[in-house]
Symmetry: C2
Subunit: 135 residues, 2 copies
């Protein structure tokens, strides 16, 4: 079973230090800058394993790439700023309830849902275009 290798820990650490969702390639860059030598394929493989073990969340961007995020135990969603990329975690009891109800009405069970909100945060909309320097 799963061995605890330097690479695996590095990927986890990179994931932990990320503010929001990251693609495998972004994580690979982070590791590279940190001086950790980890192959891109290994990053992909590690993320896959973690995703299978449900240790990380996976979402698909519009471009089709997979983004990963280490997830806290509890279920929640994200509100991401389209301009600066800042993300806020929001819990949505209302949404959870809605999802269950709607699913139930249609006879569905074992329901899971994906909810992602995006918009422009206060600072970015005021300044009319402050760039994202923080990634």
């Amino acid at each position: 079973m799963a061995k605890i290798t330097r690479q695996r820990q590095a990927v986890l650490a990179a994931l932990d230090s990320a503010t929001s969702f990251c693609t495998a390639q972004e994580l690979h860059d982070v590791l590279r800058h940190r001086g950790e030598k980890v192959g891109l394929a290994t990053v992909y493989r590690s993320l896959q394993l973690m995703a299978d073990a449900e240790e990380v969340d996976v979402i698909r961007s519009d471009g089709g790439e997979a983004s990963y995020r280490r997830c806290s135990a509890k279920h929640h969603h994200h509100l991401v700023c389209r301009v600066c990329g800042r993300a806020v975690e929001v819990s949505g009891p209302a949404v959870e309830a809605w999802a269950d109800r709607v699913a139930g009405e249609h006879g569905f069970s074992e329901v899971s849902h994906t909810v992602e909100l995006s918009g422009v945060c206060a600072s970015c909309s005021e300044e009319g275009g402050a760039e994202a320097r923080e990634l």
Copy 2:
């Protein structure tokens, strides 16, 4: 502006006859079987145009492919069966309102949201594993 070509109409027709979401490649196959000669690239291009014009819905599957579906004019979401792939359109006034409120609370504007529900539909869960033969 948009020309009405045989290929374009064929893609639209294929999309209309589909029960649920289809990938570009699936649509291409459908057309092929119907005897319509339409290049794969053309299918992609048509779908892109339609998606831009908001004439079709686009979602990303777990595998990373884009799936398209002709949609009614109004905004709505989908409840998809993980087993047979059947999809139900659900409107979510509750979700829309929630999204706006949450975003507002965090100072975000120009909010958009993505919501997809998946589960196992009644027939599939009863039969404990009836396969999806219909695609």
